[in-house]
């Protein structure tokens, strides 16, 4: 059990933060999404969402494109290849950990 617990140390903490986990999970399911969609789905404030997106962008997990829809500014976000791989790794490690704790509990 100790090794399973220690495996939690290897979890990507950037993705593991709840707000960023929501953002990355949503972007994983789509090709791209705009700021408004992310804000509504996550329930985060504009400032909070911007801050988390910036951190994900700095890490190379998210690409942010500022464009226009007619005269209205639009911010489009998408997961990079690195971001997708990081999320898949995160998910795999977390599933493995949860599975191992379930097996321990059943013993």
């Amino acid at each position: 059990m100790k090794s399973e617990l220690r495996s939690l140390n290897e979890i990507d903490r950037l993705i593991h933060e709840p707000a960023r986990l929501m953002i990355v999970t949503i972007l994983f399911a789509v090709e791209s999404a705009d700021f408004l969609f992310l804000q509504r789905e996550t329930g985060l404030t504009k400032g909070n969402l911007s801050s988390h997106l910036s951190r994900l962008e700095e890490a190379g997990y998210v690409e942010i494109e500022k464009t226009y829809n007619g005269k209205t500014p639009l911010t489009i976000c998408r997961l990079t290849g690195t971001g997708r791989k990081a999320f898949e790794d995160y998910r795999r490690k977390l599933s493995k950990f949860v599975e191992s704790t379930k097996n321990e509990a059943e013993k």
Partner: protein
Amino acid sequence: MKNTIDRTIQRTQRYWYIDGLTEIYFGFISLLMGIYFYLQASLPQDSLLYQSLTISFVLIIIGGAALGNWAIRALKARITYPRTGFVAYPPRPKYRRWLLGGLSFLVAVLFTLLLTRLPKNLTWPPLLSGVVVGAVWLYIGVRLGLTRFYLLAAFSLLAGFLLAVSGLDESLSLAVFYSLIALSMILSGGITFAVYLRNTRPVKDLD
């Protein structure tokens, strides 16, 4: 049992159907199909009107189905995206498109074979159509966890079965079937759309 991540992914995939526009659009395509089968049933087959209406309806139905994605996106750009945001879904992988094409071809072949071999005491086309349409709704319902698609699937199966035992001739029963399917889709989509409009407003200041 789905975990939170799976549920979030499913919820995101479900967003395409949040406004009911897809059902409304394909409801109208279904209505055109109903009209087409009605014309088949009521006009003399050797008349010029029959020939020209048949050709134009087939083109409208095929064109309408093919342009569906583009037309629905255009509607969403005006109505949905300014209210609840824009999402682009990844294109289907090539193998899935081939699989879908292959499956559609197989269904069409099976349909044709079955129709020539099945006993004539039932009107089989609406029953088979009910099964196919019902299966499509059920698949979407299961994949996205949307209750209204289960209801549409059940309605489709029921309509197909009732029309199969109704004694109506093939073309007329298909006309009624597709008209009923159109009604169910337009109603389902319409209610969803009305609820969506009531619960959301365009956001002018997007960022």
